[in-house]
């Protein structure tokens, strides 16, 4: 279990992590989600003692990371798959880890097999690795000590779709065995399917947390529809007469009403609909909305994308 309590990290005038508290429970995969620069990596570095917090603390199964005897045997850490010596071979990187942790050499082969790095790939120097191969090696490095807790920063980065599916299965199995998994991502679809719990962070603050369903329920807005018709003007008049707000997007409109209400209005106004969909906020919309301040794109663009999708 990872417990983060009131964690704050300030850099001069900039607050990278702002009073963050959450718990990543054993037996579950917890997704740590937020846009670039939201404070995910800083929070994770504080957990493993590479960065000192300004306030608050993070504990792993009740103790500070620095107090763990042989921490590699307790916590598997992957903060940056590229942070390996270019000139070492993949096998050598794992051998050094095994040596430090006091593990038998056979564990290196076991890990190479687990992450599907072939013996010839393992003999290559890291400078000749693709990002996906580095991620696999990083995951092997994190798992080699058979830890109880995994802390992975953007582990899916650079993996191909098959690799992402493989990692999903691996982490699921790991959590089912009672392990704690905390993995970060800036891509919702990467974590949506694997994480049991989600923690959404933006601008250094937690903006939402819980299961996917509780987050969606907490943000219910009373219905949104995306509609396109043969006579958008007439439909707009009819919808506005019913008191709904209408906003043109792409070739259609976004309406502040449930699709059934829009259908009724169209029937009454004798307008032929060519497209009618639920425009209600999905997890992605909520994610973008909640973290809007740190997004580099404006919300109008996001809506336009939502329609064309």
């Amino acid at each position: 279990m990872i417990k983060v309590e009131g964690l704050t990290r300030v850099y001069g005038p900039f607050t990278a992590v702002d009073d963050v508290s959450f718990t990543a429970e054993a037996g579950k995969v917890t997704g740590f989600l937020g846009p670039n620069g939201a404070g995910k990596s800083t929070t994770m570095r504080i957990m493993v003692g590479l960065t000192n917090p300004t306030k608050g603390r993070a504990t792993i199964d009740g103790s500070l990371y620095a107090d763990l005897p042989n921490p590699g045997r307790h916590v598997g850490v992957l903060l940056d798959a590229s942070a390996q010596h270019d000139g070492r071979t993949g096998r050598e990187v794992l051998t050094l880890a095994a040596m430090t942790m006091g593990l038998p050499k056979s564990r290196v082969d076991e890990m190479l097999e687990l992450v599907s790095l072939t013996p010839s790939e393992a003999k290559r120097r890291i400078k000749n690795y693709s990002l996906g191969m580095k991620q696999r090696l990083g995951i092997a490095h994190a798992l080699i000590g058979d830890p109880k807790v995994l802390i992975l920063d953007e582990p899916a980065n650079g993996l191909d779709p098959a690799g992402i599916r493989w990692m999903r299965g691996l982490l699921k199995e790991y959590a089912d065995r009672g392990g704690t998994v905390l993995l970060s991502s800036h891509l919702l679809h990467e974590v949506e399917q694997i994480a049991d719990e989600l923690i959404l962070i933006g601008n250094g603050r937690i903006v939402a947390e819980g299961t996917k369903d509780t987050i969606l329920a907490g943000q219910a807005t009373g219905g949104q529809a995306l509609v396109t018709s043969l006579d958008n003007e007439a439909l707009t008049v009819a919808l506005k007469a019913k008191g709904y707000s209408v906003e043109p997007v792409g070739t259609g409109m976004r309406v502040s009403a449930a699709p059934a209400e829009v259908g009724k209005a169209a029937l009454e106004a004798n307008v032929v609909l060519t497209d009618l969909r639920d425009g209600g906020a999905g997890l992605e919309d909520i994610f973008l909305q909640l973290t809007a301040e740190t997004q580099r794109e404006s919300t109008t663009q996001i809506h336009a994308e939502g329609v064309s999708a």
Partner: protein
């Protein structure tokens, strides 16, 4: 995709604190497991062999008298001082340059322990290199004598050898200190070579015998000048310079060592202990 399980096939040994000796072994291995590391060791060995080879060749081809042991020691000190501190610099700065420090310090959160393990590993390597140089020098004295047809001249006192080794060890520690302070390979190399090759080898030695103020200032700020009364007291006397090998001489020596070795080691260690690793 692989259907191999995450769980270890055989139970792993129970987790105990990482023993210091194991950290030293790991750091030792890290010096030799990359091509860059092996090339550095080969250059070090090669340069020692080259210096010895050239001296013997010149002895054989000219009718020059064979070098005595003292000259051999001076000649071989040069490649050692040129390269051993570079190993001490690289064992630190490479971690930051390649960003492997994030891995190193998550596997052993006690940064001081890692710093000591690195120092011990590179210190042992430095001592081995110096021992090789001493051996080559002794062999060269014998072979040179045989080539020139003269008896080898063993004119190195234990004291002179000790001072030479001490100098090399101080240079190693200095390189290590500046590496921790700067955490950057080129910057640490510039400072180290700037000190040994420019300040010590030319500026201090050139100005020392010329200016009075230099004779009163330099012994405090130059390790080499501060050591002169202990190593080359006779030559100094011959040059008409006062030889301070008493309490004042030691005070000067310790001050210069504190300045160039102690201070960077202390400040550098503080930087490594306190800094954010990313």
């Amino acid at each position: 995709m692989s259907a191999v399980s995450v769980a270890p096939s055989t139970p792993l040994p129970t987790a105990t604190k990482v023993p210091f000796g194991r950290l030293v072994m790991v750091e030792w291995r890290k010096m030799t497991d990359t091509r860059a590391g092996r090339v550095m060791l080969m250059i070090t060995g090669g340069l020692i062999a080259l210096v010895a080879g050239v001296i013997l060749l010149v002895t054989a081809l000219s009718d020059m008298a064979a070098l005595d042991a003292y000259n051999w020691m001076s000649a071989l000190s040069f490649p050692v001082s040129l390269l051993v501190p570079v190993l001490a610099i690289m064992i630190v700065t490479q971690e930051w340059g390649q960003r492997t420090h994030m891995v190193t310090f998550t596997l052993e959160p006690s940064r001081l322990k890692v710093v000591f393990a690195k120092l011990v590993a590179v210190f042992v390597l430095g001592i081995v290199t110096m021992a090789v140089a001493v051996g080559v020098g002794a062999l060269g004295t014998v072979i040179g004598g045989a080539i020139a047809g003269t008896d080898p001249n063993w004119n190195v006192t234990g004291e002179a050898l000790a001072w030479t080794l001490l100098t090399q060890i101080l240079y190693l520690l200095m390189g290590f200190g500046f590496a921790m302070l700067l955490l950057n390979t080129p910057a640490a190399l510039v400072i180290y070579y700037g000190y040994t090759l420019i300040l010590e080898a030319s500026v201090f030695s050139a100005l020392y015998f010329v200016f009075d103020w230099a004779q009163s200032l330099f012994p405090w700020i130059s390790m080499q000048v501060a050591m002169m009364p202990f190593i080359a007291g006779d030559q100094m006397e011959a040059a008409g310079v006062a030889v301070e090998d008493g309490a004042l001489g030691y005070a000067r020596l310790f001050t210069s060592i504190a300045l160039w070795v102690g201070l960077p080691l202390v400040l550098g260690t503080m930087r490594v202990l306190k800094s954010e690793l990313k």
